[in-house]
């Protein structure tokens, strides 16, 4: 082998040196830039972070603290009395709280039911309907209407003696139709149906967006293989929508657990406490009966239950969500 002589050795060394220098400078400036970017990022998110801290995290921690006390917020901080787990003991000793928790769990059914309907409608609207936009608006309408207005309309529809719903049932030959909102055994079902109707629009819109993201070539390939519509849905649409389903399920269940306004305006927890939920109990104890400590302990239990359900879902998602 001939030992090669490189006439440009010096230049190369120079260039390498310059490269190294530049790289250092670049790295240095990169670090500086990153720091600047981080600063800008914090500045932009700052107001939000401060807001979350002051209006969400701090009150949350305070309510954890308050749940261990016997206190009414109207009496001033000096009357606060530490009570250990007395509130929780009382909470689990009363049937009322257990009932509300059961009602909450029953109402959770509205989420899967609503999502199933929304998915079916989303598929139909995207593939088989003219003016899909119109239908999107129609199904989204209940969600953007005022809950109070919605409640009043359904009160009239559900009128036990002369309402359209019961008139129709009676015309169909049912002599004693349920009294819906005034009937302790049907009131919760009525609320559940309304929840499905109100929340379906959101799930529908998100499902439609999810459907648009599924590549069309998958369907074309399946068609060439002779797949039926049902097989296409089962093996392409549904699996590819699982992240959407997961998102809707988590947010839906959390939102459902916190439902308060609908109960307040529609039934006030009645009749015979058949539609009380934890959020409603919290309101009555905290702001009507003025027992801040007791109401806070309910908030803590609600928090724990939601956290638990969400954790179970996060762990469970590995089994069925395809990313």
């Amino acid at each position: 082998m001939i030992a090669s002589y490189n006439p440009y050795e010096a230049e190369v060394a120079d260039i390498q040196a310059i490269d190294k220098q530049e790289a250092v400078m670049l790295r240095r400036s990169g670090r500086a830039r990153r720091r600047r970017e981080m600063l800008a990022g914090y500045l932009f998110t700052g107001p939000m972070l401060v807001g979350v801290l002051i209006f969400t995290l701090v009150p949350m921690l305070l309510s954890f603290g308050l749940s261990l006390t016997d206190w009414s917020f109207v009496t001033g901080i000096e009357t606060i009395r530490f009570d250990g787990f007395g509130n929780f003991a009382r909470l689990f000793a009363t049937d009322a709280f257990a009932n509300s928790l059961v009602h909450n769990l029953v109402l959770l059914l509205s989420v899967p039911v609503g999502m199933t309907l929304a998915l079916a409608l989303a598929v139909v609207i995207t593939t088989r309907v003219y003016t899909p936009g119109l239908f999107k608006v129609i199904f989204f309408m209940p969600h953007i209407s005022s809950i109070v207005a919605v409640a009043v309309v359904w009160q009239v529809l559900f009128h036990p003696s002369y309402g359209p719903v019961n008139s129709m049932l009676m015309a169909l030959g049912i002599a004693e139709p349920p009294k819906w909102l005034a009937d302790p055994s049907y009131a919760l079902t009525s609320v559940l149906m309304l929840m499905v109707w109100i929340d379906m629009g959101v799930a529908l819109i998100i499902y439609i967006a999810g459907l648009k993201n599924i590549p069309a070539d998958l369907y074309e390939a399946a068609e060439i293989d002779g797949a039926t519509s049902w097989k296409k849905f089962k093996h392409i649409t549904f699996p590819l929508l699982t992240p959407t389903t997961f998102f809707l399920l988590i947010t839906g269940l959390i939102g459902n657990f916190k439902s308060f306004a609908l109960i307040k305006v529609l039934t006030d927890g009645g009749p015979v406490k058949s539609t009380t939920v934890i959020a409603y109990d919290m309101y009555t104890e905290g702001f009507v009966n003025l027992r801040t400590g007791y109401a806070s302990s309910m908030a803590v239990v609600l928090f724990a239950v939601i956290l638990l359900i969400t954790l179970i879902q996060w762990i469970g998602q590995r089994k069925w969500v395809n990313y």
Partner: protein, 460 residues
């Protein structure tokens, strides 16, 4: 670049200091109101210092209630005119006279340390709840200091275990409003003394028609009191719990529940409870549109009988006392309630506030032309004042109203326990099961007694 980011940091710092300045000035306000343990003393002193600086010897009394400022302020002006050196500021809690929302707003104001001396309470349950929380100042010393004979001055006795925490302003007692046009058409007299059996007969006779336009004999509103009507007409021991003793398994409660059942399910003379709750029916529209011919209601409806802007009267209204449980029972009695005025315990001007409230509950009520708990109130003058105010005075039946007012007897004021709200909720929910056909009378009484006993035991 560097300069730009420096400017930005400075800007942010300025913004932050601005925000914190707002925050601290808010804190300052709160401290003035005497919020919290450590801030209270210094705050109170600085507040009174401010007053002294601005108005010399001027005392400022701050009063809060759910009533509209327009209706209260003329009375306050009358007081200020008579008592130079005193200014009464009025805090209007809500703009729709909703006392429930007003009380919630008041609780928040008190919690945030707002400077308030006098508060008005819409009823005995609210009074007992807040007295139980030690929000209200005891008035015994002030009453003794004035040398006042309380029993000779006021109809309603507000003492809780011997301590007065408030003075009664308006008087609320209960009676039956009757649509006199419908009574005449059915050939019925305005009753002056009657029993629940007769009440039910009236209701049945006044019921007419079918379907959505049916006229019912009577309407029971959703308030808890409509589930213990047989207790409301008792001269004493008229609470669900009296001195810690349950009063549920009693003939009065059985009468109350049976009469509701009889009217709704047997005679079909009362608006069905299912309609009432599912449609959230309210007593004013039901009565003034003629959907029900009689309602059991309280003294605030006397002037409403002459029509209001929202519910104009179109027929003559007569007045009858509450029916008694059985023939021969004392008649004309009614549970007493009303608005009460008290002094907040943290008020700095207790004596001045007390003087004002004494005037407000006596002469002030006369000026305001209220149906008051003051024993020296002039009934005839009150009636003519009411008639002068309403749009349709001819629809108030003066003969029966005068008879009722002159012959009505107020039962001893029953100060409910602080947990009255819980008792009423528990009792109402059992009574609802009965009227909605979920359980029979005996089960209802037994369950209600058991539930209420649990609440009493828990609050011992």
């Amino acid at each position: 670049m560097k300069r730009a980011s420096v400017t930005m940091v400075v800007l942010i710092a300025m913004l932050a200091s601005l925000l914190s300045a707002c925050g601290s000035s808010n804190n300052g306000n709160a401290d003035n109101g005497g919020n919290g343990g450590n801030g209270q003393n210094t705050g109170g002193e600085s507040a009174s210092g401010d007053n002294a600086a601005t108005g010399g010897e001027e005392t400022v009394i701050r009063m809060a209630s759910w009533s509209l400022a327009d209706t209260i302020e003329p009375i306050l002006e009358a007081y200020e005119a008579e008592h130079p050196g005193v200014t009464v500021e009025y805090i209007e809690l809500v703009d729709n006279e909703d006392s429930v929302a007003g009380m919630q707003k008041l609780d928040l104001l008190i919690a945030s340390g707002e400077d308030i001396d006098a508060i008005m309470l819409p009823g005995v349950t609210d009074y007992s709840k807040r007295a139980g929380l030690n929000l209200l100042a005891p008035l015994n010393e002030l009453i003794e200091g004035e040398g006042l004979d309380y029993g000779a001055e006021y109809v309603t006795d507000t003492s809780i275990d011997g301590t007065y925490y408030a003075l009664p302003a308006t008087l609320e007692n209960y009676f039956v409003l009757l649509n006199k046009d419908k009574l005449d058409a059915a050939g019925l007299e305005v009753p002056t003394e009657w029993t629940w059996t007769e009440f039910l007969e009236y209701a049945k006779a006044l019921t007419a028609g079918e379907g959505p336009s049916k006229t019912y004999g009577t309407f029971f509103h959703t308030w808890p009191m409509y589930w213990f009507l047989g207790l409301m007409n008792q001269p004493e021991k008229n609470g669900l719990v009296n001195d810690g003793v349950l009063n549920v398994d009693s003939p009065q409660i059985r009468t109350s529940l049976e009469l509701r059942h009889q009217a709704e399910h047997v005679d079909k003379s009362a608006v069905p409870y299912a309609d009432t709750i599912s449609q959230k029916l309210a007593y004013r529209p039901v009565y003034f549109t003629g959907q029900a011919a009689m309602i059991i209601t309280g003294s605030w409806m006397i002037s409403a009988a002459g029509g209001t802007e929202e519910f104009p009267a179109s027929f003559t209204t007569a007045f009858a006392p509450l029916p008694s449980n059985a023939p021969g029972d004392p008649s004309g009695y009614s549970l007493a309630n009303g608005n009460f005025v008290g002094i907040l315990d943290k008020s700095e001007n207790k004596q001045e506030t007390y003087d004002f409230l004494r005037w407000y509950t006596t002469e002030g009520m006369q000026v305001k032309q209220e149906y008051s708990a003051w024993k020296q109130q002039d009934t005839d003058q009150y009636i003519s004042a009411v008639k002068a105010q309403v749009p349709n005075p001819e629809f108030i039946d003066e003969a029966s109203l005068t008879y009722f007012m002159k012959n009505s007897k107020s039962a001893a004021l029953n100060i409910p326990p602080t947990y009255q709200g819980d008792l009423e909720t528990a009792y109402t929910s059992e009574a609802e099961k009965y009227i909605l056909g979920q359980q029979d009378l005996e089960t209802t009484v037994a369950n209600a007694a058991a539930e209420l006993q649990k609440i009493v035991d828990a609050n011992e």
